[in-house]
Structure formats: structure tokens, C-alpha cells
């Protein structure tokens, strides 16, 4: 056990956990931030995607000891009122079915658009293929990303 100071969504948090604990479980079990989802635990499904220093990262394989050195953003922190252009585009296209994968999809999409505001289809494929959706919402996700890509991203 060791104490870690985390910067998440602009706030400081302190947790006392084993250094191997993945950020995913620190968020979910220790901090009660359950928007970040567990899907596979082995960096294969993208459900747990968060931003670490702005980059889409699988929190299920990111130990807290590593995460504590960077700035972390989760689905709860990408906008104040759920009005990030990507969130708005998701609602506009009514993307979610079961919705479980969508936090991860949105985190991958927001990271993509931050670095590449006008992605091509191929750019989207590359950025989004690590996020599995069993419900099969991929075509809507692509449309929503395109909608958001035309808006002004802060």
C-alpha cells in the first residue's frame, strides 16, 4: 500500500492502494467514479478509456503509480454539463443502444478530435477500432464523430 495523489478532472484526490492497482479500479472502487467501464481488463475493448495528458489510454492496464504522474480526464470530466460537442453529437445521432461501451467510445473520439479536428474515415477507423461495441453502433459513432468534427472544439 502506498499513498497516491491523483489529478482527475481538475480536482485532487488521494488514495491509499497497492501500486499495481489499475487506474480503472481506483476510479470505480475507491473514488466512486463509475462512468469509466470495465469490459476486458486486458486493453482489448476500450470500455475503460480515459485521457492521460490528453491521450486516450486504457485505464484497466495503467497502474495507479504511473497514472499519478499525469493529468487524468474521465467521462465525468470532459464537460461541465454534458455539452461537449462530442457528447452533443452522440445525443443528436442517438448513438447508444445498451450504452455500456459509449463512455469509452466518447473518450476515444474526443482524444482523436483534439489532435485531429478533421479526421478522415481512415483516421476514425484507426482511432476507434480499439473500442468494441457488441450492440454494433459503429456506423452511428462514425457519423457522430463527423458531426462533432465540424464544430469548434475547445
Amino acid at each position: 500500500m502506498a499513498t497516491y495523489n491523483l489529478k482527475i478532472n481538475g480536482k485532487k484526490h488521494q488514495v491509499d492502494v497497492d501500486e499495481s492497482t489499475p487506474l480503472l479500479w481506483v476510479l470505480r472502487d475507491h473514488l466512486g467514479m463509475v462512468g469509466t467501464k470495465f469490459g476486458c481488463g486486458v486493453a482489448q475493448c476500450g470500455a475503460c478509456t480515459v485521457h492521460i495528458d490528453g491521450n486516450a489510454t486504457r485505464s484497466c492496464v495503467t497502474p495507479v503509480s504511473v497514472a499519478s504522474e499525469y493529468t487524468i480526464t474521465t467521462i465525468e470530466g470532459i464537460s461541465e454539463n454534458g455539452d461537449h460537442p462530442v457528447q452533443k453529437a452522440w445525443i443528436e445521432h442517438d448513438v447508444p443502444q445498451c450504452g455500456y461501451c459509449q463512455a469509452g467510445q466518447i473518450m476515444s473520439a474526443t482524444a482523436l478530435l483534439k489532435n485531429n479536428p478533421s479526421p478522415t474515415d481512415e483516421d476514425i477507423d484507426n482511432a476507434m477500432s480499439g473500442n468494441i461495441c457488441r450492440c454494433g453502433t459503429y456506423t452511428r459513432i462514425k457519423k457522430a464523430i463527423k458531426t462533432a468534427s465540424n464544430t469548434n472544439l475547445s
Binding site: 467501464k37 470495465f38 447508444p96 450504452g99
Partner: protein, 751 residues
């Protein structure tokens, strides 16, 4: 206008009670019940007993806001939005003023609070609308009484009661408490379909905002003061069981509070249809946090042994099911050999029309092809989990379950606790696809909580989830067609079976369209547990049949649409046999529509395949275009025509169809679960392939047949036929027929 009775028998199909805070509460149930709820009695109210018995209700607040309860479990099929739309339509309320809540489960009345069989909208079509219409009628009556005018002169518009002659107006909220004192009308008038203003318009997912902002919605998000995390350690292979554990090391691990062995099901327990459990005896590790428990699982030493034969008789749905699990460790290679062998030997007649033997004897040519598909794991993105807090006299459960009512009975049976002491709350589910019909994990959670005396969340890892069974069965089918010298189809023969069940639907198309028709069936027992998987059985047989028809059309020198439409024409005008379970005209309707939307007759240069199927009371036809890029197929466009009657929520329905198509393409092309010595070879997404973003079609165009028919299923029907469309388009693109799923497992694409 059609008048419709509000009662099923006289016994209170609908009852109202006054809310303590004023306002009108209407409850509705699918089946009338005469049982009285104990709580109502205890409260000493005159008429409220049904309130507690009812599985759904609407509340009108005095500010005019309406809460509509959504009775069914939400697995992503949009019922939480579209079922309340039915109530709102007949209540005549502005959708913007509607709050939707997940209804509680109530098992005193048997209600269909199930997510399965694509039946939610179909079964709720009348009762939900009646609930809305009844409330509206009572509000009108309240206004008429207050204003002393005839009720026939009261109109409503989006939550406002209007009396035009006197210019009087009142909101529903103002009249709600008065309405609550009125008799429930025995008959109500339902709207003409042409006057629908909510049904048929697209309404956004009511949980949409919560989903995109990451708010807690799912079972896995459950947190409670003092809650422990439990994880299972299950046998490594089907055919094995737990013998003993050594928990010396595991117990010492940080945060671990309990290590135990549980029997989710005990020997003398009555087993229900949805109690399918591969491993009733399990080791369980309990601790403070998920990561700590995951680590301790690795430190637990478990000894396994071979499981004895398992045989149980289950009574359900008026039938008896024999569940048999033989001894042994099974292998996929042996499965394939066994299916090929049995397919030609141990078959049972399912349907026979005319004289197929003679037709095949007299045939000029016989075309014979065989098809197969592997076991599949459901892989809902939210792994199995459930919260339970069981004390001596009460069990509180919460989580993702498609069959809460059936599982309430299982819990009652297992804990020996009366039903009314058990409360199961339904959360939004991160996918169902049939997996969460089988709620053994909920029983496991309850047993664990009882044993450790604390609230607990049982959490499966992805590996636990994927290796826990209840799979889509492996299937195999052989199709034969007899052609005469003039290339006429004179005989048709299908032999289909699987492990452990057959996918055959003997009375479906092309039965009824061919004079000499033979359908035979078989099955092989296995100890690998299986269950319903999105469009059970259809999810294989549709693709096999539609691939065969494609090849048959080619052999006969016909356009694949023409062959299907000719057969359907015959089935419509001059059907063979009596039990044909489809409507040939509606079947042809979706084919004709997709032929048009895909420009089939003019776009002849594309690599495209057509496929159509009927299941869950709905008709779907699809055309799929693909190209080979870098030696890999790339799906371009998919055109889909659907006849599911009236479409309640068009954009959400379109989403569901798109999803079914993507999901179907994925399973036909990529997914497979294989076994070595009883062990699944795939345990997580590094080896188990689900379709990914870059593999999805570039465009999907969905068209619904304009219809006045009451709505039918939609969650499942678009899924099965697309597998045939993929196979047929692959043939066009590569010149090779693909008979065995997953298609990407073939040498051709592996390179």
C-alpha cells in the same frame, strides 16, 4: 373510433388509487390477477391493492409532469423509451413533460417483465396504450364534473383539458387529484392509428444524457455502504467440477475477507428453465475491492475432478425439457466429426410434404451442400454481475437481468424465502442478447451475501464470463435440392441439427413453396452449456438456407430475387401443407422493397448478396455489397427492408436494425469459440474476435414497410439473414462459396 374494454374479465384490469400527495395513479398489468397485495391491506386503503400488484403505472403530478414507469428490462433494445411512448400517446401528453422510470418487479401477478424473444412492444401494444387512454378518460371526466359540462365536449391536447364552448381550460395536473377519486371506466376509446402523434415519431433515448456523461446506470455501477466484492473461481473445463480448495495463501492477501465454496444450486432444488448453470459449485473470493479480489483469486489453490453425468427434467412453458450433460472433456474437432456423422444417421422426421423420395429418385440433378457454425459466447460488454444483500428474512437484489420474475422464484427456492420478502431491482443492462435470461449469477450473489452476512457485488471478470457457458450452440445443416431436366425445383430436403439442439424450423419458408419437401432433425448431448443467443436457431439456419437458395438460383440460371419471389408466389397462391408459419405476401414485400432501394436490377457490377428471413413475427430482407481490399473483404453498403408492422420509434428502430446487421456480419465473419479437453480456447478479446469499428459496413440504409399492422419483434429479426447476405456477396467477390462460419477462418483469408 374503436372502443376497447379496459378489463380482462371484470376484475380490475386497471385500478386507481389516490396518492398521498394528491394526483392520479393508474396501474396496468398484462394479465389480470385476483391476488391481493399484503402491503395494501396493511395500509388500510380501500382500493389500492392492485397498486402493489401492478407491474407498471403512470403518475401525474399536480404540476402536470407525468411519470411513466417502464415495466421491462432495458438491454439496449430501447424499450425504456418506446414502451412509455405507447402510454404517452394515448394519454395525450407532451413527451417533453414525461419522466420515465424503470418499474419495480412485482411477481404477485405474472407479468411479462422479460427482455426476450423480441416481444416487449408486441405484448405491450394494447395494455400500455389502454393505460394511457384510461387515465385520459378519467381526467376528462374530472374536468366535465368540475365544469358541469358533458364529458363528450371535453377535448385534450398535450396535457391540457379543453372545453371549447365555455373557453375553460385546465392542465392534467389540476384535475389529477379529482380524477383519482373517479371510477375506472370499463371501456376506453383508443386513438385511430392515423391520429398518432407520438408513435411513429423519433424520440431520443431517455437515458441518453446519462449515458454520454457517465452517470451510474448499470448493475456494475452499484455501490453500497459496507459492500464487499466477490469473484468466482470456476472449473477450467466443461466436464469438471470443484473438489476442494486450499485457501491458506489467498486468505492472507490484502483486503480479503472471505474465501468460501458455494452451491448456487443444491441437489434437491427445483430447477427452472432459466437456471441453466454450467458450474453450480464454485469457489468464491470476497474482499474490499475488485483488484484485491482479482489478485487473491490467483493465489487460491483449487483441486478439480471429473464431473459425473448430469440429468434433470425441467418443466416450463407447458413442456418438459430433458437436460443431459454426459461425462467427459469435449473437443471441437470431435464435435465436427460427430455432427457430420450423426447428420447422415440418427435423424428424426420433422415435416414431409408430397413424395420427396420419388422426386429425388427422378431428379436429373441433385445439389447438396452442408453448412456449419461454431459455439459463440454472448460477450455482453458489461460482464455478468449482481448486487445482493441477504439478511435472515429479506433479500434485496439489484442488477442486470432479463428474467427478473423467473429469478425471483429461483432465489425463493434456493433461500427458502417467501417471494414477497425478495426484491429485485432492474438496472439498465450493458447488453443482453439472451445471456442474461439465465440468472444463475444472481442466485450466486444471493448465496454469497447470505453466507458472509454482508451486502456484496458479485463481479465476473471477462474470462469468467466468456468461459462460463450458456453459449450459442454449434449447428450443422445439409440442404439438398432435386432439379428436373428443365431445371425445375422438384424436391427439397433439409437435415439440420446441433450440439445440443437442432436449429431446424421445419414449417418456415421454403416449406409451403415446394411440393416435395422433407425436413429432418437431430441433436447431440454435450456438457457444454448453451442457451438463447440473439434470434436462437434462426441465427444459423437463416444464413445456411439463404446461402443454399443463392447457389440453387445460380444452378437454375435464375436471379436470386426471382427464385425467392417465385417460391413465395407459389406459397401465397397455392401453399403446400398447412402449418406454414409465415405470410408469403409480407415476405415478398420486404424482398421487393430492398430490390428497389438497392437498385439490384441496375447495379449489376457490384459484389452483392441478397438474403431474407422471417422470425419473431417480423420480415427482413437485405442486400450487402463488399469489395476485396488487401486480400480482405471490406463491407461497403448494406440495404435493409423491414416489415415489423407499425414502427413506434423510427430512429431508435433504425439503430437497432443497424446494430443487428453489424452484429450479424461480425459473428458470421469473425467470432468462434472452440474447445480443447473441455477448455474454451478463447477467454478474452485478444483471442475471441468481435467485429470492430474498421470492419463495420460503410453505410447501412434501413427502410421500413409502411404498415398498419400491430408492431412485432425487432431486436432479433435483422440479425439472422445478414449472415446469408455476407456469404452470398463473398462468393460474388471471390468465386468461392463459404459454408462454414466464421468465414474469415477459411484458408482463403488467413493467407
Amino acid at each position: 373510433m374503436s372502443t376497447t374494454k379496459t378489463t380482462l374479465g371484470r376484475r380490475s384490469f386497471l385500478k386507481n388509487v389516490s396518492l398521498a400527495g394528491g394526483g392520479l395513479v393508474i396501474g396496468f398489468s398484462w394479465l389480470a390477477s385476483c391476488k391481493e397485495a399484503p402491503e395494501a391491506k396493511a395500509m388500510g386503503i380501500e382500493m389500492p391493492k392492485e397498486w402493489f400488484e401492478l407491474n407498471g403505472f403512470l403518475k401525474i403530478g399536480d404540476n402536470g409532469i407525468v411519470t411513466i414507469m417502464s415495466p421491462n428490462p432495458e438491454i439496449g433494445q430501447n424499450v425504456k423509451t418506446s414502451m412509455p411512448m405507447l402510454v404517452a400517446e394515448e394519454l395525450d401528453i407532451d413527451w417533453a413533460n414525461v419522466i420515465v422510470e424503470q418499474a419495480p418487479l412485482n411477481t404477485d401477478i405474472f407479468t411479462r417483465q422479460v427482455a426476450g424473444g423480441s416481444q416487449s412492444i408486441r405484448a405491450s401494444w394494447e395494455p400500455m396504450r389502454k393505460a394511457g387512454a384510461t387515465a385520459r378518460q378519467m381526467l376528462k371526466q374530472a374536468a366535465a364534473d368540475t365544469w358541469e359540462v358533458p364529458v363528450s365536449e371535453i377535448k385534450t391536447k398535450e396535457g391540457v383539458l379543453i372545453h371549447e364552448a365555455s373557453g375553460k381550460k385546465a392542465s392534467y395536473g389540476e384535475m389529477a387529484s379529482k380524477a383519482a377519486t373517479l371510477e375506472v371506466p370499463e371501456e376506453v376509446v383508443l386513438k385511430e392509428k392515423a391520429n398518432f402523434s407520438i408513435i411513429g415519431t423519433s424520440k431520443k433515448n431517455v437515458d441518453g444524457k446519462k449515458i454520454v456523461t457517465g452517470q451510474p446506470l448499470y448493475g456494475i455501477d452499484t455501490q453500497r455502504e459496507g459492500m464487499k466484492i466477490a469473484m468466482i473461481v470456476q472449473p477450467p473445463a466443461f466436464g469438471m467440477q470443484l473438489k476442494s480448495i486450499d485457501d491458506t495463501e489467498a486468505k492472507k492477501m490484502p483486503g480479503i475477507t472471505n474465501v468460501l465454496v458455494i452451491d448456487a444450486y443444491v441437489d434437491d432444488q427445483k430447477i427452472g428453465f432459466f437456471d441453466q448453470a454450467a458450474f453450480p459449485k464454485m469457489a468464491v473470493v470476497v474482499g474490499d475491492t475488485t483488484w484485491q479480489v482479482m489478485q487473491a483469486k490467483k493465489a487460491l489453490n483449487v483441486t478439480w475432478e471429473m464431473a459425473p453425468e448430469y440429468a434433470k427434467e425441467i418443466s416450463a412453458f407447458g413442456r418438459t425439457f430433458n437436460v443431459k450433460r454426459p461425462v467427459g472433456l469435449e473437443n471441437t474437432n470431435d464435435h465436427i466429426k460427430a455432427m457430420q456423422q450423426v447428420n447422415s444417421q440418427k435423424i428424426t422426421l420433422a415435416r414431409k410434404d408430397g413424395n420427396p423420395e420419388k422426386a429425388f429418385k427422378n431428379a436429373d440433378r441433385v445439389i447438396e451442400r452442408s453448412y456449419s457454425c461454431p459455439f459463440l459466447a454472448h460477450n455482453t460488454m458489461e460482464p455478468m454481475n449482481f448486487f445482493a444483500n441477504v439478511t435472515n428474512d429479506k433479500a434485496e437484489l439489484m442488477g442486470p437481468i432479463q428474467t427478473p420474475e423467473a429469478m425471483e422464484h429461483s432465489i425463493s427456492e434456493r433461500l427458502d424465502m417467501p417471494l414477497e420478502n425478495i426484491d429485485i431491482k432492474m438496472t439498465r443492462m450493458g447488453g443482453g442478447f439472451g445471456r442474461r435470461l439465465y440468472g444463475h449469477f444472481l442466485v450466486e450473489a444471493a448465496v454469497i451475501s447470505k453466507e458472509i452476512g454482508a451486502p456484496v457485488k458479485l463481479q465476473y471478470s471477462r474470462e469468467d464470463d466468456m468461459t462460463n457457458g450458456v453459449y450459442r450452440p454449434a449447428y450443422y445443416a445439409t440442404y439438398k435440392a432435386a432439379l428436373d431436366v428443365n431445371n425445375n425445383l422438384i424436391g427439397f430436403h433439409v437435415i439440420a441439427g446441433g450440439i445440443p439442439e437442432s436449429p431446424l424450423a421445419a414449417n418456415r419458408f421454403p416449406a409451403g413453396a415446394i411440393d416435395n419437401y422433407l425436413a429432418e432433425t437431430w441433436s447431440i448431448d454435450s456438457n457444454i452449456t448453451t442457451g438463447a443467443f440473439r434470434a436462437p436457431r434462426s441465427n444459423f439456419i437463416a444464413g445456411a438456407e439463404q446461402s443454399f437458395l443463392d447457389e440453387l438460383a445460380e444452378e437454375m440460371g435464375k436471379d436470386p430475387f426471382d427464385l425467392r419471389l417465385e417460391l413465395l408466389e407459389k406459397a401465397k397462391n397455392n401453399p403446400v401443407g398447412e402449418n406454414n408459419d409465415y405470410d408469403a405476401a409480407r415476405y415478398a414485400g420486404v424482398l421487393e422493397l430492398v430490390r428497389k432501394t438497392s437498385n439490384w436490377d441496375s447495379d449489376t457490377s457490384k459484389n452483392r448478396g441478397v438474403s431474407a428471413y422471417f422470425c419473431h413475427n417480423s420480415y427482413v430482407a437485405q442486400v450487402l455489397d463488399l469489395e476485396i481490399e488487401n486480400n480482405q473483404p471490406k463491407i461497403k453498403d448494406v440495404y435493409c427492408a423491414v416489415d415489423c408492422g407499425i414502427v413506434v420509434n423510427p430512429d431508435a428502430a433504425t439503430n437497432l436494425v443497424e446494430g443487428g446487421i453489424v452484429d450479424g456480419i461480425g459473428h458470421a465473419m469473425y467470432s468462434s469459440l472452440t474447445f480443447k479437453d473441455g477448455k474454451p480456447d478463447q477467454k478474452n478479446f485478444d483471442t475471441y474476435r468481435l467485429i470492430r469499428h474498421n470492419e463495420a459496413p460503410e453505410n447501412i440504409k434501413v427502410d421500413f414497410v409502411q404498415s398498419d399492422t400491430d408492431p412485432t419483434g425487432l431486436g432479433e429479426p435483422p440479425f439472422p439473414p445478414i449472415m446469408g447476405a455476407v456469404a452470398n456477396a463473398l462468393y460474388k467477390a471471390t468465386g468461392t462459396r463459404h459454408y462454414h462460419q466464421p468465414f474469415m477462418g477459411s484458408q482463403e483469408f488467413k493467407g
